[in-house]
């Protein structure tokens, strides 16, 4: 079981009307890795994530998550899989009428209604602390949070059920570089401590260099390459070359190198 990939996508096809987003897309995510997914705007990174987590029904293909086929599942069976993953949406998607702590408690209440309120509150509070939020963030409403805090609160909710698998949709977009670096570090340390597998959609080259074990590149309706960054650099696909060897790519690589030296 340990060697089986956590996510396995085969022959995926997605389209909106005439416009084909994915065609014959294959992707594998192994246990315990952080897989970065990159691609230009409109290559369907978010659509890929939505098809894996079941929010978007693909035209055809096979999607297996945690060894289970995800397509055409009965609702109660799918629920068992859903509680084993956590998802951080691009804009946090916090429930706006609930406080941060209540947001974190929502999934726990849904699946384990028998937990006593004091224990529930304690669980919510250590999850909030784990996501790096200050202690006074618990009773705040999402509208009172800054961008970085919203992402952290979303992460606390995603971690509520102790998931094996974490989906992050552009977690560092909209954050300042310091907050983004802090968030990268947080994800890396949580991933190591909690033995998570992370599916990370990002545009942030620094994130890719800093925390991703492997990177999947989306282009031409499919995953054109998967590998470590040095492996990708060895390929001569024009988009990959431009992406990693462009001015921003090189700057990120330099920073990563300095980081290693220091």
């Amino acid at each position: 079981m340990t060697d089986k990939p956590l996510i396995c996508v085969r022959g995926l096809r997605n389209s909106f009307g005439e416009q084909v987003v994915h065609e014959n897309l294959d992707l594998t995510v192994n246990r315990g890795e952080i897989l970065g997914v990159v691609g230009g705007s409109g290559t369907g990174k978010s659509v890929l994530m939505r098809s894996i987590i079941g929010l978007q029904k693909p035209d055809s293909g096979v999607v297996e998550v945690l060894g289970e086929n995800m397509l055409d599942r009965a609702e109660d069976e799918a629920k068992n899989i859903r509680r084993r993953w956590g998802i951080l949406f691009q804009n946090g998607a916090l429930f706006s009428t609930l406080t941060v702590a209540e947001n974190v408690e929502v999934p726990i209440r849904e699946y384990f209604p028998h937990l006593t309120p004091p224990l529930l509150d304690e669980i919510a509070s250590y999850k909030i602390a784990m996501a790096g939020l200050p202690p006074d963030a618990g009773p705040k409403l999402p509208s009172e949070l800054s961008g970085g805090m919203t992402k952290r609160a979303g992460l606390a909710r995603a971690l509520a059920m102790d998931p094996e698998l974490l989906f992050l949709d552009e977690p560092t977009s909209g954050l300042d570089p310091i907050a983004a670096a802090g968030f990268d570090e947080l994800i890396r340390s949580l991933q190591q401590r909690l033995d998570l597998t992370v599916f990370l959609i990002t545009h942030d080259l620094d994130s890719l260099y800093a925390i991703c074990d492997r990177v999947a590149v989306l282009a031409d309706h499919r995953v054109i390459a998967v590998g470590t960054i040095p492996e990708l650099l060895a390929l001569d696909h024009p988009w990959i070359q431009e992406y990693f060897n462009g001015p921003r790519g090189r700057a990120a690589a330099d920073t990563a190198e300095e980081h290693v030296k220091a």
Binding site: T97, L115, L119, A124, S125, P135, P139, S143, D162, R193
Partner: protein, 367 residues
Amino acid sequence: MPDDKRTADDGAEGATYRPAGALTITRAATTQREIDALPDPLTIDLSKVERMDTVGAWIIYRTERDRGAKVEGGSEIETGLVQQVAEYDVPVKVRPEQRPGLVRVLTELGEWVADAGTTFVGLLGFFGSTLVASAGLIRRPRKFRVNAIVQRFDVVGVRALGIIGLMSFLIGIVVGQQGAVQLEQFGAEIYTINLIGRITVRELGVLMTAIMVAGRSGSAFAAQIGTMKLTEEIDAMRTIGVSPIEALVIPRMIAAVLMMPLLAFWSILMSLLGGGIFVWLDLGIPPLTYIQRLQEVIPMTDLWIGLIKAPVFGFIIALAGCFQGMLVEGTSEQVGERTTTAVVQSIFLVIILDAVFAIFFTSIGWK
């Protein structure tokens, strides 16, 4: 097959709790209950635990923290996990602070009064800024947004014809039917025509139209402008130099002010039609007699009263809708709240004004 049996000894040296198999969130409620049932001093033996997550670790940790329990037998991973969650034990406030009942009621009352005050002042201020913007538009009529206004005419006026017509038709029938039942007792059912004619022309036609327009268009104004506020479209307009009052509020106001009398007139016609069909079928009064009788009993002033009130009501509805839309801040939830307030406020103001008009017109002799 893992040994899932959990054991608890209650020996002389105190109790020992021995969870087995999975110590995860799935078992959290049970585990906590079992631990709570055991007396102090407590020892927790983790040697049979095969899988643990942070919730399991947290339960072990809090027992250790609160009851001074001894934890032993855990593998490296398990003790590590307990240590990790311990690091995150910072007192996080979970709920906003609640004040005692009486104080809270008084505070809420105070806040409500203050809110009502600021809303009223805000509404006046908003009214003022629309006046300023209108004056600016009159001086430079080329900035007049004809397309926007025509589009609003369509949405506020033309598309409302169906529903307002149907509603008024039914109201005409209801007024006629209820009136006939009462007047028959005195053998005065011919006066049903007076009743239908005067009440719909003078009061009901315009009032029902105003309520319908408030529900249809006032709410739409608040929701549209509120959403634009949330998505920062209004801020974008301001930075480009387009005044949101000119671009968004004035076209809606003009549309509401001009469409209301037309809709009210339409509503009056449809009510009279509904009433006419009723008296024809039920009381046997032929249409021609009905029309003649209407001409005799409805003074022209009744129609003027209805049609003078209509644009004022239209203005109030547009003012309240746009004002509440502009007040939206922060969350999408506010759009809903403000939309509701816009409708409630405009209907309330319309009815108050209607009362004022009724007294006014009677006192100047338009009876």
